[in-house]
Symmetry: C2
Subunit: 181 residues, 2 copies
């Protein structure tokens, strides 16, 4: 008799590996948000921290990106990870806090210099430019944002034969329920 808790433990192992290992599948979740005008948006992000005990994930972003604008308007996100070898789909729903400025200076200090250029692109990400490389990346601590994702729900699908799928909610203390795949 299988237990939904086994699948959940497996998912958190993959998330932890994503933080530690650049080549792990959970390194690059897809983050889906709803734009201020109500449209779905999705883009790849880098997973920077994962806490199973708190049920939280952390992502870093330039604060002038459309995803941060979307999260200011609606502070909710879906995150998606596919782990090919385990044939495991990890779907997560989260409430997202946007932290900037003095709140995140300790984290900024830990960002390697080479990576700081990702925060502060001029013109801002998504703005039109005449040629492909007409932009500068001075790196600006004022543009560094931490997206603190407080998971509310996880939905795990393992494409074994036959498939297994379970749903877990924070409000049920993550105990998990099998659902039809």
């Amino acid at each position: 008799m299988s237990d939904p808790g086994d699948l959940l433990a497996q998912a958190w192992q993959h998330l932890a590996r994503g933080v530690a290992d650049r080549r792990a599948p959970a390194r690059h979740p897809v983050l889906a948000t709803v734009s201020p005008d109500g449209l779905p948006e999705a883009r790849m992000v880098v997973l920077r921290a994962a806490s199973e005990s708190a049920g939280t994930l952390e992502i870093h972003s330039d604060s002038e990106t459309p995803k941060v604008a979307a999260l200011h308007a609606r502070p909710v996100a879906a995150l998606h990870v596919w782990v090919p070898k385990a044939r495991l789909q990890i779907r997560m729903s989260a409430e997202v806090e946007i932290l900037t400025g003095a709140q995140v200076m300790a984290q900024w200090e830990k960002v390697p210099c080479a990576a700081r250029v990702s925060y502060g692109t001029e013109p801002a990400p998504g703005k039109p430019i005449a040629q492909a490389h007409d932009y500068a990346q001075p790196g600006d601590p004022a543009r560094f944002a931490v997206l603190h994702c407080i998971l509310s729900r996880m939905d795990l699908l393992q494409l074994d034969t036959p498939h297994r799928r379970a749903v877990y909610c924070r409000q049920d203390l993550w105990q998990g329920t099998w659902v039809a795949p």
Copy 2:
């Protein structure tokens, strides 16, 4: 001088390969939608057709899934593909038509028997079950839905050094504009 059209041609090659080759990265886009209560959702799907000339993609789904409920409420989606070897992120926005019944019987006839079980799971996908395998997959043509995705926008990011990013819109006849990455 690079041309945004080169990047667009590359993206369509990857999408075509996704349709033809089970192992191609574009075989499994992430489809993001907005739930009836306004929350972002994301899950992996299988790319079944791609037409560069029409600017459309096709996905098949069980009509009783939450994604189809979401698309009935808000017929818009975002699609995401990451092509690791090309270091190319393909982001697409689409309006989605849900086709079922007599409209899609010709397509149903082409679905291999072994794959038909994906349409008609009982209880419906996402419904609670007592044990992991307490579901049946009779395969039901009445539950077969074709999601016809009419692309409105594509956003391509190539993580070369330096990065290149361009945006393309149907209303501008897909001519493309470089934007800051």
